[in-house]
Amino acid sequence: MQLTCATHNNIKVITVEDNRIDAASAIRFKDEMRTLTDDGADHVLLDLSGVAFVDSSGLGAIIASMKQMGDGRRLDLAGLTPDVAKVFRLTRMDSIFVIHKDMAAALQRAAG
């Protein structure tokens, strides 16, 4: 599981470099998210545009990553590919996360 990190407009952007978050990688994803969000950034944006497949274990790991950040801090999502968007829609998790179409839209919204 490879995640890369950058900061734009005070938003910490984490990009998933693997093309799947599934049962085989969920725990590693969650652990790396913990490391990357431990600095306390208030607003984290997870760029999923390179991820073609998320199963329910991957979804659970994304939810867990949000929960482990604690209240008062945001984990937004951006760039959901169609199959990934479907997992969020079917499980109603699209109403729990703020989901941006892509990174440009997410950063613009934050800046505006």
Binding site: D22, F53, S56
Partner: protein, 155 residues
């Protein structure tokens, strides 16, 4: 992959693996490749690979829980208007002998109470047209039926 074989003849794929997370990932990727070869792509391919991945993960996590990972076998058939996926394994039976109902976990509570799991059977039920489980002589057979042409998402 017999992508051009007539329906009802050779299966589109017949794959076997040990029920470990990495092995079933390979199986799901092979399923996806076979579906693409057969001209099944987009939303339908995504639904089938997701539902099958959930079922395979269940075999890995629950079916062989407390024992050495056993084997899981997948047969995929392309019919005129359906895609059939048949999974079989020698793991535990279903709790209470029946298919778990697949209720959506409650996500209405506080952030700290959000569910992190329990979505597996919900997704399987949602994505399949039809689902059946048989257990005979210690072996589970899960039959998942998908449409061949339409998106299977139920509202």
């Amino acid at each position: 992959m017999a992508a051009t074989a007539p329906s009802q003849s050779a299966p589109l794929a017949a794959l076997s693996s040990t029920a470990t997370e990495l092995d079933v990932r390979d199986m799901v990727e092979a399923l996806g490749a076979a579906l693409t070869d057969a001209g099944i792509d987009g939303d339908l391919r995504g639904s089938i690979t997701l539902a099958v991945s959930e079922a395979l993960n269940n075999v890995t996590e629950h079916g062989y829980a407390g024992r050495a990972p056993g084997e899981v076998h997948m047969v995929v058939d392309l019919l005129a208007d359906r895609v059939l996926v048949t999974l079989s394994d020698s793991g535990h039976g279903m709790p209470g002998g029946a298919l778990p109902p697949g209720l959506l976990p409650d996500s209405s509570g506080a952030r700290a109470d959000l569910p992190e799991g329990g979505f597996g059977w919900f997704l399987i039920h949602k994505l399949c047209l039809d689902l059946s489980h048989t257990r005979h002589a210690g072996r589970n057979t899960l039959r998942m039926t998908f449409p061949r042409y339409l998106a299977p998402e139920k509202s």
